[in-house]
């Protein structure tokens, strides 16, 4: 599992790749919260997530709530089929903003 942060211009993007589970989710959590120390918006690219469990979902929720408290926003973009299924089971597809692409998430935040 890898998390790449792209903070070169515009809204920062975190690209998560691989399996997010009990072992790897602490790294996801830290990477997302680290960005939110300096920035108040963040797009999380979930297109290459093969697997995510409740601990991974919890990391996304924590980042989302941290941003909201600071008046910012976390959006999920290009969510892979397996990740979407898990977000739906968690009923978070109605709570966290889920966008088709990085571009649409970023256009929306820029508004």
């Amino acid at each position: 599992m890898t998390v790449d942060i792209d903070d070169t211009g515009g809204v920062p993007v975190a690209r998560i790749k691989g399996e997010v589970d009990l072992k790897t989710s602490p790294r996801v959590r830290k990477a997302l919260l680290d960005v939110l120390k300096k920035r108040d918006t963040l797009i999380v690219d979930l297109s290459n997530v093969d697997y995510i469990d409740s601990s991974g979902v919890a990391s996304l929720v924590e980042a989302y709530q941290t941003a909201r408290k600071a008046g910012g926003q976390v959006s999920l973009a290009a969510v892979s089929q397996p990740a979407l299924r898990v977000l739906q089971l968690a009923r978070l597809d109605q709570v966290l903003p889920i966008r088709d692409s990085i571009e649409s998430a970023s256009a929306e935040i820029a508004e």
Binding site: D21, K23, D53, V61, R85, R91
Partner: protein
């Protein structure tokens, strides 16, 4: 976590059993086994969900029953009757109080507490059984199979 109905897990056929040390970095091994076993049994369509439920139950054993990574083992046994799938999860940790296992309502959005919600949504029945020789814990999860995945007769791949 207990439903009214308790189908017998006896007279079922072994799909696969996997034993690993109860550590966060071994849950991927359990997932690998369960996924391959469900595919081999012709249950691809259920594989992702059941793998998630099993992983969540294993996480709870690692985090709550053993209280962190240990050298204690975790055994996951997957078997099936013609119309249902059984997952039995065995650990060697101190006995767990089944009433202490309860998730939260997902409408209450906060991190954590989602594992048992996933298990209850995906599986049809989840209950603690008496572990062999009274040692550790034995959790059994049951999933009813949709009609097209049920077995007729003897073969065990449709």
């Amino acid at each position: 976590m207990t439903a009214p109905e308790a189908p017998p897990a006896a007279d079922n056929r072994l799909l696969a059993e996997v034993r690993v040390p109860a550590r966060a970095d071994r849950l991927a091994v359990v997932r690998g086994t369960v996924h391959a076993a469900l595919r081999a049994a012709g249950c691809d369509a259920l594989a992702d969900d059941v793998v998630l439920a099993v992983d969540e139950a294993c996480q709870n054993v690692v985090r709550h029953a053993y209280g962190g990574d240990t050298d204690g083992d975790l055994v996951v046994r997957l078997s099936r009757a013609p119309d249902r799938l059984f997952v039995e999860l065995r650990d060697y940790a101190p006995p767990v109080d089944p009433d202490a296992v309860c998730g939260r309502d997902p409408a209450d959005v906060r991190p954590g507490g989602l594992g048992t919600h996933f298990i209850e949504t995906i599986m049809d029945d989840t209950r603690f059984l008496s572990p062999p020789r009274g040692v550790g814990n034995l959790l059994r999860m049951t999933k009813r199979l949709p009609a097209h995945l049920r077995l007729e007769g003897e073969g065990d791949t449709p």
